[in-house]
Symmetry: C2
Subunit: 360 residues, 2 copies
């Protein structure tokens, strides 16, 4: 087992990384202040891992409640959140109960937001079981649910007490979700680390075929990059926004296609191509580098073209996105491979052209 640390003063926490971790009682014990714990998971993950986590918590001395929610992005709304609250209240969980988020990004965001607002905040631990969650969403304390008018519109910054990333759980991950997770791996590299881009170009086939050594390297590198960015900018007022590379376009694609039709990672993959094309239009990135972005995404088996939506419709879907400041759209662009930057007041025509170019 390796452990990294997200340095956030009194809110600092460890990321434990390795195989067969989620059944270890000692990883949960430090956070069981009140003796009760609630595992939030979904119908797909529960049959695979719930029992091991429950046994580990029980062995650590906890009274354990289980709250099982539906699978999928559609579950990331108020209705499911209410079920989590109902479960916590039925089990009489107090302010010192520990919430354990066992699952992918949806479960982590939902359970994390529940932990952020239940009785004005209770502790929680992330146990991510998808590649996307292990490399991205479980680290950094961003929690949220969706609103019909926008993704992650209602949420909070609420740091976990620990992240337990068990790479053995990736063995059971469906092919399509593995690839969606690779989109976030690629994002970290393109936005922050040119050397990691080169490594990915050399090792993508090993990641796709789930070689454990390659997966561990990729998860660790993403967590290192993300931990550094989060430590520098917890509430996303600056550098952390760079991790939204591809996300302004991507969120609009998810919204336009209807939540759940596209996986988050798939939408982000296309969003990164659009953002790269936009960067080229702004004369920041060479067209050859755009081709390199496209090639890397394709090598992971990810889409590079979006759903059939008019560019104007896509732009309309962006306008209320969190990247909007002072009423103007801003985008994360690439100044080079491995170097993202935030640019504001971008001409809408250039955004349209980028969307059209990405569809070629």
């Amino acid at each position: 087992m390796e452990s990294l640390r997200v340095a956030l003063g009194e809110r600092s926490y460890p990321i434990h990384l390795g195989a067969d971790l989620l059944g270890r009682p000692e990883l949960y014990r430090p956070y069981l202040g009140g003796g009760s714990a609630a595992i939030v998971t979904n119908t797909v993950v529960a049959p695979l891992y719930l029992q091991r986590v429950r046994q580990a918590l029980a062995a650590a001395g906890a009274r354990v409640t289980e709250i099982i929610v539906p699978d999928g992005e559609q579950a990331k709304g108020w209705e499911t959140l209410e079920r989590v609250f109902d479960g916590l209240l039925a089990a009489r969980c107090g302010r010192d109960a520990l919430i354990v988020a066992l699952g992918g990004g949806v479960v982590g965001d939902l359970a994390g937001f529940a932990a952020a607002v239940y009785q004005r905040g209770v502790p929680f631990v992330q146990v991510p079981t998808t590649l996307l969650a292990q490399v991205d969403s479980s680290v950094g304390g961003k929690t949220a649910i969706n609103h019909p008018r926008g993704k992650n519109m209602i949420g909070a910054f609420h740091q976990p007490r620990a992240v337990i990333s068990d790479v053995a759980t990736l063995d059971t991950l469906p092919e399509r979700e593995l690839r969606a997770g690779l989109a976030e791996v690629i994002k970290h590299a393109l936005a922050l680390d040119a050397q990691f881009v080169q490594w990915l170009e050399a090792h993508m086939s090993k990641l796709v075929s789930r070689e454990r050594g390659a997966l561990v390297h990729a998860v660790r590198r993403c967590c290192e990059l993300k931990a550094e960015v989060v430590a520098a900018d917890e509430r996303e007022s600056g550098v952390r926004a760079l991790l939204n590379f591809g996300h302004t376009f991507g969120h609009a694609i998810e919204l336009g296609a209807g939540y759940g039709a596209w996986l988050h990672g798939e939408a982000i993959a296309v969003g990164m191509v659009m953002a790269a094309e936009l960067s080229a239009r702004l004369r920041l990135l060479a067209q050859g580098d755009v081709a390199r972005v496209r090639q890397l995404i394709m090598s992971a088996g990810l889409p590079v073209r979006g759903p059939a939506l008019a560019p104007e419709a896509l732009i309309e879907l962006m306008a209320v996105d969190k990247k909007a400041a002072h009423g103007k759209l801003r985008f994360v662009v690439l100044e080079d491979i491995g170097r993202a930057a935030l640019r504001g007041a971008i001409d809408e025509r250039e955004v349209q052209e980028a969307i059209v170019a990405a569809a070629q």
Copy 2:
């Protein structure tokens, strides 16, 4: 105008206190980062003060949206919160929009919670228009909505950027609400300041007849006491819990009577009598001091006896309350007039006896 300061490091903020403040543009201008503002108010307050606040914000350069919610404790739930989100999204409010909470405790808690979680947190200003809100709920950053199984079950700590307490708005406050606000004034005094208790015993009739000088003194003293406590313990892990004096009983009364049947202050008034009786049973407080508590509450025209609920039913309604830690009920008791303390692991029989004694 007087200004106090709540000292919370980078989250510090001023409380402005005086007459005819809510129409002053300069009090809002510092917080209009993005140029847009949303006033959240209710159907009772809107006809009285909305126009003046809107004009002040417009004069300060803001694009202003209005979100008017129903009046009353029943409005403090998810359904109303959704309307606030809808209004913010319809007006395309971004992360830098300012939310202005114009109204009493319900509007402040609701709008404050909306501000805490909309796009993971936007700035807000409290403009309390009831005595209860001016002396208590607008200061300190506690925001929440109710859940059918418990009051303030879903919420967040989210500090306002400023509190604008315009005592002229108390002129339009219904008699019953003025008295309910006096319950929180009495609470501050009984929990924290014996001298203030004496002052209240001498000046209660002036407060009931709304003499402005007396009101200003009471609001200022409560804000001073609360600002000190909040600065010492923002997230209520210690001394701040003392401000919950009477609230464990009071919340159960509100819940048992059905939200809205009793005003919060009325339930807290009875809750304080019960908590004083409990303190006497624990041999902390002399029976003569219990009589003094009862007398002070009666002098404000507040109830000292609860609704017709069996003691067991009332205790059952408490068990999931936030004051529960490690599965045991805790209570804020009085060790003396003006000196509250937190006591845990209290025998249920003594709680029952206190409830019975309070009903005599």
